[in-house]
Subunit: 206 residues, 2 copies
């Protein structure tokens, strides 16, 4: 911190704000001055919300999603299908999939994907706990919903091998052309896969 603002409190706030990803010191100063111009209640609400969130959100002991109680709201929702587990990389992906309203089962958050280059090995992820859930809960289907990248595919295959001895159906997200995209701009690998995995036209009417 080479520039100070004639106020230790402002310095501290700018310093803390600029630790956030994508927020440099200039933006941090702009945000701090914005908060100084607004009603005190607004800054207090922001500060309190951040502290409440970090202080009270923990991780679900069952699916490792964020939770405000030992078991998260999705895992404890009895209207959901407990026999289907959707495996995702992180908490953000749970939110994204929930927003589609197409998955009515539970989740299992791995906390990342296998990536030797980044030093992330299977033991760093919640894979053993997934195997344990499939072994002990009455799971019928595991949906692998990782990103279609090399790391995602490696992780998919690793999980597939781990679950193979167990009596569970393992499915994966369909690969295909993106809805609304020009065919011209779809990469050949995806386009090729979408031809191989073509489906009866009448199935798209639902």
């Amino acid at each position: 911190m080479n520039q100070t603002f004639n106020s230790r409190l402002l310095d501290t706030a700018v310093g803390e704000l600029s630790k956030l990803p994508g927020i440099g010191r200039k933006t941090a100063l702009r945000l701090a001055l914005h908060l100084l111009r607004r009603e005190p209640e607004e800054a207090m609400a922001l500060g309190q919300a951040i502290m409440d969130m970090r202080g009270n959100i923990c991780y679900c002991s069952r699916c490792h999603n964020i939770s405000e109680s030992p078991v998260c709201s999705i895992c404890s929702d009895t209207s959901r299908d407990e026999t289907v587990i959707c495996v995702v990389e992180n908490v953000k992906d749970v939110i994204t999939i929930e927003s589609t309203r197409e998955h009515h089962g539970l989740y299992h958050v791995l906390g990342g994907v296998i990536s030797p280059l980044d030093g992330i090995s299977p033991s760093d992820l919640e894979i053993e706990s997934l195997v344990e859930r499939v072994r002990t809960e009455s799971v019928r289907e595991v949906i692998l919903a990782l990103s279609p990248t090399m790391e995602g595919d490696t992780t998919n295959y690793y999980i597939f091998r781990k679950l193979a001895p167990l009596d569970v159906e393992i499915t994966i997200l369909a690969r295909g052309v993106s809805i609304g995209n020009e065919l011209e701009y779809t990469d050949e690998l995806t386009l090729g896969r979408s031809i191989l995995n073509r489906i009866p036209f009448k199935d798209t009417f639902s």
Copy 2:
């Protein structure tokens, strides 16, 4: 707020973060999830810094800059030249001018510029208090350091008229070509002014 994240605390934090300028709900969610991944101390420090800043920073009764005491650190710095007041639009401009280390006098923060379109009239600004300072303090020079825009120029002229009856020198920031910019890209108005206000070459050696 049409999307919720299965956690009221996360919802609240994202809601408060997205009130910040330039931060939409997607970015707010990214920031919140970042804070959840980091050590609790980091989020607590951020929340506390924001609340401390907003709760304890007030405005200097003399120059209206931000301050942690009734009179700010610049106004109470006895090594500064009390006879020169630099008039700026806002707190950010004080920081910017301080970083040049070229002004050794005091400041006077107007809190904006006259802008009839935005409904900002002279009475909304700290102009009367500036006149009062010039009248009662031993001020030798007032430097008008507002933006070279129509609103800035209007405000400059209004202040000039107000201070004219008093025995004080009124100066304005030099208009000219920006250092490091290609002459080709300098607008004609600025270039024309820089020719009119040309200075002896030897004066640039200092």
